[in-house]
Symmetry: C2
């Protein structure tokens, strides 16, 4: 497999995707179950491959050394293997994203020719797979099985480019998955591996064969992919989320929500980075907020107004910075309009929340703020596919195109229009004497 | 206006789009009515500007000379002005594409804090505008008003780059429209003009300010735009549509549909370019088809099998060629599978049709062919926004992303997630003792 060129891999993936696309849900689910069984049975060989990755990773020193958290993510123990197996099964159990009738319209109710089983001209909009996904990810073995499962469930082929640290584990995993897929009667080229930076760069140029790029990793990786491909990219380079504490905010609610939005998981893209406080409540609220955050171990950065109100803060260096740590910027704004303007200037269109008891202010914020998620009296941390009820999350998109916000299996589909007639021709509907379309909704 | 840089124009357009986005339908429709009235009242000045464009166009000679059909499209007479006015009014009358609840889910039915007007945690997915559209078009005055109307109706700002031949007319039209929009209380920067090739190229680089590029014109223009921008492109470079005449086709139906698909409007992207005939009926059907097409003045190109069956054909030079004329390629295939493989190799994923009385073959074709439109016993010419019942057509997309096939006003929108709570935080749903999401569909 490693001798094939990236183009050959992509072309084979496209061909495999066209075999998979028309298959019904039962066949796709059977392949997923086969994948889960195969991973469960391959514990020893997977652990051996992973041990090699771990050994290599632990031998790195100095600048190359991996952080303890990266090493822990890299490690594939029994519990993680079991989780991977369960994750594949849970993807199989999700509702089928394909073949859904998104729209149905009768264009005409009569036939120009006798016979046939169709009565009239009928248009349907049906969900179908995208085709070939290419995923670039970092040192996570579970990314291999999770992405492969999501791709197969949604009828897509997938090309996987793992981080260097996890290469041996990824090779072993993909080998097991390809064999399982083939044993289930599907083309093994539905899942393939692309190794090395240069080959990853080659993928970026294949807009004719690859339908979607999914970079999963640090901001630098996402930005590099976005800047260097014509293939549509699903992802987000950063999450600069704001909470605006309005004039009419409930103080206890505000402290509770800000605490969660910052501390539930500070490294997440949906963690809050900036709190904006209305001037009229700043004197009272900012010291309380500073006291609360300081007690909770959060480092505070403030604008000049905030620095006057608390001694716990240092000046804000950059309002567009994603801390990813228990650190937060706090600023004072004159009005709801000023808060919205600040968000549009410094935000990343990810998730923005207003805290207020004033329903009119809340509705203005929800309507006027341009972001994938706009919240009232809730933590930004809810921006997540599982919390939204999608079952699985492919990623979070800050693009305005195709899919926005948390993306579930639907984000891996597109649609096609299916038209069924009985010799219907466009010329029959031309001119004053022509037939008229009925355009009757059937869905 | 012409002194502003392209970036200044784009930034002003973005700001204007954010003023427009939250406005309700009545305000957008009032602006559209004002635009229609203003165009109706500006007949003399628009005709004067158009006369200058026409004079310049008519003075061109040799290679630069415009074709009679281009000159006729360029000309703005009374009837065309009236059509433009009516077109704006008909866009105003379309259903509002914004603020539609695409999905609604209750995430929880209880509140962690007392008070508030909301009961539980509720998520909505709401349609919103894209932001700023940039449209590059050729010598059509009516493109200015049509695009501006579609943009405004869908809550977007628009930057218009007209062809050189229509510049004076476009300047006059945009001037009238900007004043009308301002008089209706909206920012005039919702509609702006970008003149010249170099400034158009600058637009292509502004992926941070422009949300969608719409190239309207020849294949070369579309391909140039697709290759030179990171901004998502709505459009299609070409339409290589196929009709597959199956073993079990009804002969009369087949001749009728092929006639329409080729001759209703040969220059259209949804006209058929290639007919594939099943081998088992080729001996009988190909001579009849050749006779019919020849009588109708269609030039025939054939593969070696077809050349044996008729003397009216010349060899096919390129199966991926868009004739755009009364010319057609005909080939013989061994099976439905061979037809599908040919379509996937040579098609442009635009619109593909099978003609057959065999329901199983038809359903296989509709399911397996990967294209924006897949038809059974109907002409490819139905691939059109008006015929599909969209009211207005923004364009036809052969991309798999965002919008596919004929695109109506919906294609100019995206969505955002609106979450309303009462101090809900993600931490409450963590661990075995945590609350559970209800994830109850509310739409």
């Amino acid at each position: 497999m490693s001798e094939r060129t990236v183009r050959e891999i992509a072309v084979a993936a496209k061909a495999a995707s066209r075999v998979l696309a028309p298959l019904d849900e039962a066949k796709r689910n059977a392949a997923l179950e086969a994948m889960a069984d195969a991973i469960a049975a391959a514990g020893p060989e997977l652990s051996a491959a992973n041990a090699e990755d771990l050994k290599a990773a632990e031998s790195l020193s100095g600048e190359d050394a991996l952080s303890p958290s990266t090493l822990s993510r890299l490690k594939l123990n029994k519990a993680k293997l079991q989780e991977m197996v369960e994750q594949i099964r849970s993807v199989a159990a999700l509702p089928d994203p394909l073949g859904r009738v998104l729209d149905a319209t009768e264009l005409d109710n009569a036939n120009p020719l006798p016979g046939g089983s169709v009565d009239g001209l009928h248009l349907q909009k049906i969900s179908v797979p995208l085709g070939v996904l290419a995923v670039i990810f970092e040192a996570r073995p579970d990314a291999v099985t999770q992405i492969a499962a999501l791709a197969l469930k949604s009828g897509n082929a997938v090309m996987l480019k793992p981080g260097k640290e996890v290469e041996r584990t990824a090779i072993a995993l993909v080998d097991v998955l390809r064999k399982a897929v083939a044993a289930a009667g599907l083309p093994s080229d539905l899942i393939s591996l692309v190794l090395g930076r240069e080959r990853a760069a080659e993928m970026l140029a294949m807009h004719d064969a690859i339908d979607m790029m999914i970079p999963r990793g640090a901001k630098k990786l996402v930005e590099y992919v976005q800047a260097n491909t014509r293939i549509p990219v699903l992802g987000h380079a950063e999450g600069i989320c704001h909470i605006y504490v309005d004039l009419a905010a409930d103080e206890q609610l505000a402290l509770r929500v800000i605490d969660d939005a910052k501390l539930d998981y500070p490294a997440a893209c949906n963690a809050v980075e900036t709190v904006l406080v209305h001037r009229d409540i700043a004197d009272e609220f900012v010291p309380k907020l500073a006291e609360h955050l300081s007690r909770r171990g959060v480092k505070l950065h403030g604008d000049s107004e905030v620095l006057k109100l608390t001694k716990d803060a240092t000046p804000v260096a950059d309002w567009s910075h994603e801390y990813g740590e228990p650190e937060i910027a706090v600023g004072v704004v004159d009005s709801l309009d000023a808060a919205i303007a600040h968000i549009h200037t410094h935000g990343s269109s990810h998730t923005e929340s207003i805290l207020t008891e004033d329903a009119v202010a809340a509705e203005r914020f929800l309507r006027e703020v341009d972001a994938a998620g706009v919240y009232h009296n809730a933590s930004t941390r809810f921006a997540d596919g599982f919390r939204y009820g999608f079952g699985a999350e492919v990623g979070i998109s800050t693009s305005r195109f195709h899919a926005r916000g948390p993306v579930g299996l639907d984000g891996l589909t597109t649609y096609k229009y299916v038209l069924r007639g009985r010799g219907h021709v466009a010329g029959d509907y031309r001119g004053v004497a022509g037939r008229s379309f009925t355009h009757r909704k059937e869905s």
